[in-house]
């Protein structure tokens, strides 16, 4: 196995009294060393569920999982979906770790941050207290916390939001993982702090040659750091390709709609935003066929009735670029509001 992470045919659903909630349907994805892969989608598209499944953090009693999530660890390959929990726990934090959206609620308010960081190290290196202390200071220094030895004795409330997110990143790096999952790492932060954190993440990625799986709804953040992008809608990947493919040559009507919905900072005349009508469907009661079809403005370009009848397959546009749509390639919509960039 050459990649750091290989998800194939992942399905995640939650049984409820009203029927199964299909959060993720048939998702496949690979992540290589030194690469950032982004999963973009709106709320309820299944992006966070995907990231939690990769970490093995789903609740096994209320979640139905199938498919496989393979992560190599030394000379063996662990499958998060099918291997037993003990094996996954042994790997969590060491081979793959995660940064969460809200740095306030992911740090324990009662413990000094030094203790919380050291704990992450001690879980995998029991008894090595002195090394843990040294490593804590090193990592805090690496993520740009001034006076790391002194700040390690502070409590989470003594840090600002941006600093807390740095602490979270330091914690995720304690065992130098090869896969970092960042679930909306900058959503709770102000733009100037967001710029600091994104720059930090890129620097660390280079230093450790890590693979980053970035989960976000913010197309700006995706454009800033992602190499490859998967766009999700209602649990399905609708388009997958390089960042340039997605932003300059989008093929799925949903991706086009999403790009047209984002206001861009422009010099001259402002164009009216082209919004997507309607709202995302309920995951319990998905529309038949293509889940996006009730909101799709280009549905008449598709062969009559096909959109409501079957979910289109992910079809290759080029070797690295796949999209899911019944509309013939030549009749697909275009992004209209791109002014700058683009080739």
């Amino acid at each position: 196995m050459t990649s750091l992470l290989e998800i194939s045919n992942l399905r995640v659903s939650f049984p409820t009294d009203d029927g199964d909630v299909h959060a993720v349907d048939n998702l496949s994805l690979t992540l290589n060393a030194g690469e950032t892969v982004a999963i973009v989608g709106e709320s309820g598209s299944g992006k966070t569920v995907t990231s939690l499944s990769v970490m093995g953090l789903h609740n096994p009693r209320s979640t139905k999982l199938s498919g496989s999530i393979k992560i190599p660890d030394g000379d063996q390959v662990i499958d998060v979906v099918n291997d037993d929990a003990e094996k996954v726990r042994n790997m969590r934090g060491r081979v793959m770790s995660m940064i969460f959206q809200d740095p306030m609620s992911s740090l324990h308010p009662y413990f000094r941050i030094g203790k919380q960081l050291a704990e992450a190290y001690l879980v995998h290196n029991p008894g090595k207290k002195e090394e843990a202390r040294k490593r804590t200071v090193e990592m805090l220094d690496l993520v740009g916390i001034p006076e790391p030895a002194k700040r390690a004795k502070d409590y989470p409330h003594q840090f600002s939001g941006g600093m807390r997110q740095r602490v979270m990143i330091a914690m995720a790096l304690m065992n130098t993982p090869r896969v970092l999952i960042a679930d909306e790492p900058t959503t709770a932060l102000d733009v100037t702090v967001q710029a600091q954190i994104l720059t930090l993440m890129q620097g660390i990625q280079k230093e450790f040659n890590m693979g980053i799986l970035l989960i976000t709804h913010d197309l700006g953040v995706v454009a800033a750091i992602a190499d490859r992008v998967s766009v999700m809608y209602a649990g399905n990947i609708v388009e997958q390709g390089s960042a340039d493919d997605i932003f300059y040559r989008p093929m799925a009507p949903y991706t086009v709609g999403l790009l047209n919905s984002v206001p861009k900072i422009t010099y001259g005349e402002k164009q009216r935003l082209q919004s997507i009508a309607g709202q995302p469907p309920s995951l319990i009661n998905l529309p038949s066929g293509c889940a996006f079809s009730p909101r799709c403005t280009y549905i008449e370009n598709a062969p009559a009735g096909s959109c409501a009848a079957t979910l289109p397959d992910l079809v290759g546009v080029s070797s690295s670029h796949v999209s899911r749509c019944h509309i013939p390639e030549s009749d697909r919509p275009q992004v209209f509001s791109h002014v700058a960039g683009g080739k």
């Binding site: 709106e42 709320s43 600002s160 941006g162 600093m163 102000d190 733009v191 100037t192 702090v193 967001q194 710029a195 600091q196 994104l198 720059t199 709804h217 913010d218 197309l219 700006g220 953040v221 995706v222 454009a223 800033a224 992602a226 960042a243 340039d244 932003f247 300059y248 709609g257 999403l258 790009l259 047209n260 919905s261 984002v262 206001p263 861009k264 900072i265 422009t266 010099y267 001259g268 402002k270 009216r272 935003l273 082209q274 919004s275 997507i276 009508a277 709202q279 995302p280 791109h338 700058a340 960039g341 683009g342 080739k343």
Partner: protein, 326 residues
């Protein structure tokens, strides 16, 4: 534009919140200077965007414009009349003309009232009966903001976030206001829904000539919807600029840093541009830096910046509070 011709004008507005300082013998009260001396003239029909990071005072400013928070000092002038010290009873008739749209569409609607009741409350409070009766008018308003009028008897929980924001907008425009403060109206919404609500606000502005103060932290949204943009930092205005000029010619170093930090949905721009990374965090508004409040994080700061507060000066098409504007 001058204060005389402006529809809405604020002069040297401040809002300080007292907080207790800790310590046994220290009974002195400290002040959080949320808004610290801002002045702004807003013309009729104009959309003014207020942008800034969390804690810069933009929400406090917006609320004190409408006297939802009593300002500590300064003047609020609406249609040439000083409304700063109006008693609530005198203020009430004016409230029909001055409205607000709130950020969080989940907590801004009473969960035990039907949508019909929520949108008709302004008529009841002001004692106004519109032509054709309240119910007909409410249904017209629902249709206007893109809701199905048949959902008159439904409760807020039956609507999605975007629809709830539409309900909030319908309530705000019910009495045909002249001046609306929209406080982060789209930041809780998904991108595709956000575009719907922005378009709706633009339609209302164009068709009904409503003057809007649009408060948001997202610079690209603010730039898109506004005619002029006000950049705030730590309770003070840093720059007021025509929205088309802001991007091509930012005058204040903070505006420049802010613009360079906004990620844009375009990988080519993102790969080639230089980000200005501001060091450190926002200083505490309880103890703001002396002189220019931005001086502690500014790369251009000289001695004078730490000692003397810069005045607002006209540079090109912008007003800017900086000793060394671009």
């Amino acid at each position: 534009m001058s204060t005389e011709t402006a529809l809405f004008s604020i002069q040297n507005l401040t809002k300080h919140f007292p907080v207790k300082k800790s310590g046994v013998f220290n009974n002195q009260k400290a002040l959080v200077k949320a808004v610290d001396g801002i002045s702004l003239d807003i013309a009729e029909g104009e959309t003014v965007g207020i942008v800034g990071e969390s804690g810069c005072g933009k929400t406090t400013a917006g609320r004190s414009f409408l006297k939802l928070i009593e300002p500590t000092s300064g003047k609020i002038i609406y249609k040439g009349e000083d409304i700063t010290n109006l008693k609530p009873g005198k203020m009430r008739p004016l409230r029909a003309e001055l409205q607000i749209i709130f950020q969080d569409p989940y907590s801004a609607l009473n969960p035990r009232q039907t949508i019909g009741n929520i949108i008709s409350a302004p008529f009841e409070i002001q004692g106004i009966t519109p032509d054709g009766g309240v119910k007909k008018e409410v249904q017209r308003l629902m249709e206007r903001v893109g809701l199905n009028p048949e959902h008159f008897n439904r409760y807020p929980h039956e609507f999605s976030g975007g629809q709830r924001q539409r309900i909030g907008i319908a309530r705000a425009i019910a009495l045909k206001p002249k001046f609306v403060v929209a406080d982060e109206p789209v930041s809780a919404l998904d991108v595709s829904i956000q575009a719907q609500v922005i378009n709706l606000l633009e339609d209302l502005k164009r068709e009904d000539g409503i003057t809007i103060v649009f408060i948001a932290h997202d610079l690209s949204v603010v730039q898109h919807i506004s005619d002029r943009v006000v950049v705030m930092y730590l309770g003070k205005i840093m720059e007021i600029s025509d929205s088309n000029n802001l991007y091509s010619a930012p005058r204040h170093p903070y505006t420049k840093a802010l613009l360079s930090a906004v990620p844009q949905a375009d990988p080519h721009i993102e790969r080639t541009r230089e980000r200005i990374i501001l060091s450190g965090d926002l200083p505490s508004p309880m103890n703001p830096p002396s002189g220019c409040v931005f001086s502690t994080r500014c790369w251009k700061a000289q001695d004078i910046c730490h000692s003397k507060t810069p005045e607002m000066v006209q540079v090109g098409q912008s007003q800017v509070a900086c000793h060394f504007p671009e």
